[in-house]
């Protein structure tokens, strides 16, 4: 096994081009588990810790460009305002020690359906995209095209994740996750939800209940329709139990979970409906407050 330690991003991309089977490592919270348990022996390890720009983020007010290796701890501390859904999800990752090392880039690279970032990224909108860098250039992959299978993403062998571009929240966002305790939990299932009042859409993201993270498209469309037809974005009136119930059912129907050690498919479906109803209610209540205080 080789240990590659590029000092710059250009060197890292050159190394990945030369060693396409090299496994990138940053926080190590996934990669080292596989190494310690001998699950995976890559031909080479590509250490990204020296690439400081991967740990930086910037915002132009509309979009946050989040470096792939910005640790979850800093997302919670520094980005709860512009990226509230992702910050909530980040807070449920592992433990303080894990959040000091783990990052969204690692979640995307591993592409586990249980990764905590994914539901929040999907809910943040179709404008979310992953910057796939290589010696050939930069490719912007829309988040909806990024996850292609169980632990598989759409990166080419010579590509590395440089950053994720996420629209700044223009409405309330929530994240909910089921597990046996509040820390060190791999999600039994998870759900991300976001209201996007500017373009009159809503965002959803389902975690750990399908081969890939996925959005509940019909649930989004249903709610978008109801909010528009009834003028609820303007009035801020209550949604009513029927709408909330129907939304939960549609989210549940969008999942295709399996029975495994963490939970049964039935339990996951049930829990998703509950989380969908709750996160919608929380977000809508916050939105109503905003509307009223603005009025």
């Amino acid at each position: 096994m080789e240990f590659l330690r590029p000092a710059t991003w250009d060197e890292a991309l050159a190394a990945k081009a030369e060693h396409p089977t090299a496994l990138p490592i940053s926080g190590g919270t996934d990669v080292m588990v596989e190494m310690n348990f001998d699950v995976h022996r890559p031909s080479a390890i590509l250490d990204l810790n020296r690439i400081t720009e991967l740990t930086e983020w910037s915002s132009d007010g509309d979009v946050v460009r989040l470096g792939a290796a910005v640790p979850y701890a800093r997302i919670i501390e520094e980005l709860s305002g512009p990226l509230p859904g992702l910050a909530l999800a980040a807070h449920t990752v592992g433990s303080p020690q894990i959040r000091n090392r783990g990052s969204v880039g690692g979640n995307l690279g591993a592409a586990s359906p249980a990764g905590d970032s994914h539901p929040a990224l999907l809910a943040a909108g179709r404008g979310v995209s992953v910057e796939a860098h290589s010696v050939r250039g930069v490719r912007l992959v829309p988040i909806d095209e990024f996850y292609v299978g169980v632990k598989r993403n759409s990166l080419e062998p010579d590509e590395l994740i440089g950053a994720v571009r996420i629209p700044v929240a223009d409405g309330p966002q929530q994240f909910s996750k089921i597990g046996t305790r509040n820390a060190m939990v791999i999600a039994v299932c998870a759900f991300g939800f976001a209201l996007h009042p500017k373009d009159g859409t809503v965002g959803t993201g389902i975690g750990s209940a399908a081969p890939t993270p996925r959005r509940a498209v019909e649930a989004e469309e249903y709610l978008r329709g109801v909010l528009a037809e009834r003028g609820l974005w303007e009035s801020g009136e209550l949604l009513g139990p029927e709408v909330v119930q129907r939304f939960g059912e549609l989210v549940k129907a969008a999942a295709s979970p399996i029975d495994d050690v963490r939970g049964t498919a039935d339990y996951r479906r049930h829990a998703l409906a509950v989380m969908a109803r709750r996160t919608l209610t929380w977000c809508w209540n916050d939105y109503r407050k905003q509307i009223r205080s603005a009025a």
Partner: protein
């Protein structure tokens, strides 16, 4: 490969390090610092917690090659040069927060980091900060007592200055 870094303020060097080896293994087996404990090897238990460039991390999840040229501080580094226990260590002894002791090194480093950031944490803050450190024998009450005691002593020390 060879890896050189700073451990508790002193330069250390390890040779013939396997590329997939963890920092924890290097500390325990190659540079004579067995304080950090190896329990789960997957970041679940926190027993191997060390400072890496001032940030507490699970050393079992850091690849040895990643610490080249960087600063590591282990539980051994919490004590004085003369072996006198540090404030957090003494509080754990005084509160009886140590039973088998296997989880203790990780708890000590994590508590040290907590009190450095927030000398007077609430119980909720303490539980949150220690949520990645598992203890399988005392239960957590004595550990909570120890952190509260360490917090009180840290604040008292601050007041004297």
């Amino acid at each position: 490969m060879r890896v050189t870094f700073s451990a508790n303020g002193k330069p250390v060097e390890a040779d013939d390090v396997w590329e997939g080896e963890s920092l924890l293994y290097v500390l325990r087996e190659r540079v004579g610092l067995p304080g950090s404990k190896n329990a789960c090897e997957q970041g679940e238990c926190g027993s191997c917690t060390v400072y890496l460039d001032g940030v507490p991390v699970c050393s079992c999840l850091v690849a040895a090659g990643q610490v080249q040229g960087r600063e590591v501080r282990t539980v051994e580094g919490l004590a004085g040069e003369d072996g006198e226990l540090g404030l957090v260590q003494q509080a754990f002894v005084d509160a009886g927060a140590v039973q088998c002791g296997f989880c203790t090194p990780g708890l000590l480093v994590q508590t040290d980091a907590l009190l450095a950031a927030d000398p007077q944490p609430s119980d909720t803050d303490i539980r949150e900060a220690l949520s990645g450190n598992l203890c399988r024998c005392t239960g957590y009450e004595k550990i909570m007592d120890a952190v509260r005691l360490a917090s009180a002593r840290t604040c008292a020390r601050g007041a004297e200055k």
